[in-house]
Each structure stands twice: as structure tokens, then as C-alpha cells.
Subunit: 286 residues, 2 copies
């Protein structure tokens, strides 16, 4: 069967795969200086945002990505006080980060203010913490911001960006990681969305090489389901300054004061179990 | 964008979600007494089989499902000698089961012989072990077969079926599980594909109830990615006769004589970590 325009389809032509949600109506359509943002009301997945035709998130399943981009790295760090989010304009990662009482400040550097303004309107639940006094917003270039950041001023950097083509390409490159390493305190962690293990092993291998060359002491990848992203299977990759990525604050997770949909202490450990083929490809590379 | 007929799309209308692969040509199209089987050559996922418009498997990603339907249950059992597969006509699960040297016999009961004959032709790699002297094929009704099976004659039953609508409905019902329990030896295990945690929690809850009511002593679910299935996120559920599902033959996994793409000892443990929402829903139910 073919799918008509009652579906919003993202075709990943390079991989011969497409994902579609049935939509009821278009809620917003804006061309900003950076990109084309569309928001739809879907029949079963709530509101949906796409940028340049690529699914960013749905109300229904964004908990997977946002929880797994924030809680594993924050609970791996011993005491995350100062956090930087690069990208993350929909504010879902920010909301999860602000659930951690030990976090004292979060700066979000998103290039396109319209992503955040539209998220406030169409994904208000993700923006519920935007007025938290610990949160600061800067709308500008994250690569430039990090280049000029004060040395050893951050505990955790979360790179919550689009795919490594176009504006986000520089976020997957060695100079960016070198700037991140400099801005982190000892033991600090950078966590970045790192695409699909089924479709994007080339990107993952290159990321490991670039992070390693930049001087990070250890790199680890975790996996999680993410239905609206190509192949429905996604990863985040962590790199640590000066020490191994080993263990996490398990008691703090067990005692966490907020409810999650996916993440818990058991999932923290489990998510780092990567497929046999991934281990072979990454260890051959390192 | 809409997707034209250069894509093969499976729309799950009840869930407002669709998955598509770009296809080059149709290789087979048969209407059997049971169902409509189509086989396509896709551009990036190799050959693909669909039954009644629903993706069954692709050459590219079937390793996920087939490994996770076979190795976890076989390595959980202390000494799996006699195995029954119900469904599994593409022979991918059978191939994985036959990789275990401790397995002495496998009977595959598939209702539709044409699925197997077409798999032999278009997925020869999955059928590579079909002439193993330990394998026997019976083409008929798995529900009826199990009803008449000898008591305490099996160690492991793997239910590798289509969704619980139409011919497969009875495979998700209490009478079937009661027959399975009777046919298993003490400590025996039944493992069944159990749909998507995002879309099908109702089916999972009902499965737990039916397996529990049938008298199984313990039930556990594991998760894995499966891109060609709705939401790209899938599960298998195990039920055990007379004892807890606890631990596995970890040393045997570490020493396994065959190469896997996804499964290993670390993944065995990790796959049983289910999402926080799943734990809440299932424990409230039990």
C-alpha cells in the first residue's frame, strides 16, 4: 500500500526506510533562518514536531529520548552542579535535568529560538520547568559558545542536537569535543545523541575516534528504543574527562524524588549493554 | 510527504503508525488457504516477507528477533534437549536453536507450509540448518498439536507466531498455555513473542494473566529492538513450570561456539530490564 497525505512520513532515503504517523492537522509551519519547522496533531502520538522533514519528537514517546539523554549521565557524575545543554530547544531534556535537586545551574544554548517558542505553545508539558530560577536560555551557536566557555566551569555537557548534517555537523567533530573537554571539570561528562546502531555505525565509529583524539579518557554508548527516529533504535554516547565511566550513584537513583517512564537503576546498567556487533566494530576501531 | 508504491508500507491503523521500506521489486505473491504472503526485494534491507500486509522479517534485521527468541530461553534452561517451535515458518528461530549442541531434537509446527517453502527460496541463509537430522517439520495446527502432545515431553516451547489476531489468536489464550504447561517437563520454559511495550500493553497484561491462570510459576519479559515491527520495539515473554526464572548458564554463553550479532551474556541480563512504566503496569496487574 502507499501512504497518502493523511500521514506525515519521514523517508530516510539513504537507508531505504521510512516512518509515518497518521496526522489530523498541521498546527504550525515556519521557515526560520535555520530550518523548516512543522508541528502536527497526530491521531495516536499526540503533537509531533519535525525539522526539515525529520521527526524531532512526539508527545507520546519523547520520554524515552529525554530520560535517556539526561538521567544516565547525571547519575554517572558524582555531583553534577553546572550543566550545559547544546540544542535541546524543545526543553524536554532541560525538564529532566531540572528534576535533579543537586543541579545548581543549567544553561541551554539553542541556535533557533523558534523551536523553543513553538515547544512552549505545542509541548507545554516539556516546558513546564522553563521558569525554574536555575535555568538560563541563550539563543545562539553552541559551537561558538563552547569555544569561548570558561575552562573547567562545567560538570556535564549534553549535546541534544539534530543529525550530523547541516547546522549540527560541527557538533560531531574533534574541535568541538576539544572545547568541551576544556570546559569540563575533572571527572566531567559529555553526553551526546549518537544515532542508530543499525543505520549509523559509521557516525558512531567516527564519533569514538574524534572524542578519543580530543583527549577524553573513556567513551561508552548506551541504547534505547525511540520509535519516531529512523529504525526506532537509538543511542547516546558519553565521554569522560580524566577517568573511566564506571558505576553510577545507584542509591540516589533508588531514592529519586520524581517518577520516570523508562529509566531506573536497573535500566541504567542495562542500557550500556550494546549488541555483539557493536562491541566488535567499536573495539576493532579503538 | 506521501509515500508512493516504490515503498512497501505497513500501516498499523489502530495505532496511527506506519513503517515502510523502499522496494525494488516483488519477488513472490501467494494467497494460501491461511494468508496472503508477499516477498519483496528492498533497496537496503535485503529480502522482506510480509503476511497479510504485515512485516514478518527482513534479511537485514531479523537477527534481532531470531536471536532474542531463542538464546535467552535456551540458556535460561539448565539442559534443553527437546524443543518445540510453534510457527516460525521462516526457519530463522530454528536455525538459532540448532546452534545449541545440547539440543537433541527440534520439532517445528507451522500451519502454512508455503511460508517455509518461500523462505527456503528467498531467505536461504535462515534455512541453512533445515536438513540438520535433529530437526523435524510438521505442517499443521500448533494449538491442536500441543493439545495432543505427550505430557512432560518437552524442555522448551518457543511460540514464534504472527500477532494475536486471526489464526494466531488461540496462541495467546489460557487453554493453549495450560496445554503447554502439561507438555513441559519440570523447570521447562515457554517463550513467546509478545508485541510492543509502547503499543500493546493490553496484550501483555492479558498474556501475564493467562499464563498465570494456566499455572506457570513465574513469568518474565525481555525487550529488544526490531525495526520492521510496529514502533521498532519488541518483546518476548517467558513462563516457567514449577520454578522461578532466575539466572542462566552464563559460562556456557561465554563459551558459545557460534557468533551472534546481538545476543551475549551481558545482553541476556540487560534485556530483562524493562521500562519503569512496564514494571508498574505488570506488578499492579499480578
Amino acid at each position: 500500500m502507499s501512504l497518502d497525505d493523511t500521514w506525515f512520513s519521514e523517508a530516510s532515503n539513504d537507508y531505504g526506510v521510512a516512518f509515518s504517523l497518521k496526522v489530523e492537522k498541521k498546527l504550525a509551519d515556519e521557515r526560520t533562518p535555520y530550518q523548516h519547522i512543522e508541528i502536527y496533531k497526530s491521531t495516536h502520538f499526540g503533537n509531533v514536531m519535525a525539522i526539515d522533514g525529520v521527526y524531532m519528537l512526539s508527545s507520546r514517546d519523547n520520554f524515552l529520548y529525554h530520560e535517556m539523554m539526561s538521567h544516565p549521565v547525571l547519575y554517572t557524575h558524582r555531583d553534577p552542579k553546572n550543566v550545559l545543554i547544546i540544542g535541546g530547544g524543545d526543553c524536554g531534556t532541560l525538564r529532566e535535568v531540572l528534576r535533579h535537586p543537586e543541579v545548581q545551574s543549567v544553561l541551554q544554548v539553542e541556535i533557533d529560538e523558534r523551536v523553543t517558542r513553538l515547544a512552549e505553545q505545542y509541548f507545554p508539558e516539556l516546558c513546564a520547568s522553563n521558569h525554574d530560577p536555575r535555568a538560563t536560555f541563550f539563543f545562539g551557536d553552541g559551537i561558538k559558545w563552547l569555544r569561548e566557555a570558561e575552562a573547567e566551569s562545567l560538570d556535564v555537557i549534553i549535546v541534544d542536537s539534530t543529525d550530523p548534517i547541516g547546522p549540527a555537523e560541527g557538533l560531531f567533530a574533534e574541535p568541538f569535543y576539544r572545547d568541551g573537554l576544556r570546559a569540563l571539570r575533572p571527572g566531567g561528562l559529555l553526553a551526546q545523541q549518537s544515532e542508530s546502531p543499525l543505520l549509523h555505525m559509521k557516525i558512531l565509529r567516527e564519533m569514538y575516534t574524534a572524542m578519543g583524539n580530543a583527549g577524553f579518557a573513556d567513551i561508552k554508548t548506551l541504547q534505547f528504543p525511540q520509535p519516531v527516529y529512523p529504525s526506532g533504535w537509538w543511542t547516546a554516547t558519553m565521554a569522560r574527562k580524566g577517568e573511566k565511566i564506571d558505576g553510577f550513584r545507584e542509591q540516589a537513583v533508588a531514592a529519586m524524588s520524581f517518577e520516570t517512564q523508562y529509566y531506573d537503576a536497573e535500566m541504567h546498567q542495562a542500557a550500556f549493554a550494546m549488541p555483539a556487533f557493536f562491541k566488535r566494530e567499536i573495539s576493532e576501531r579503538r
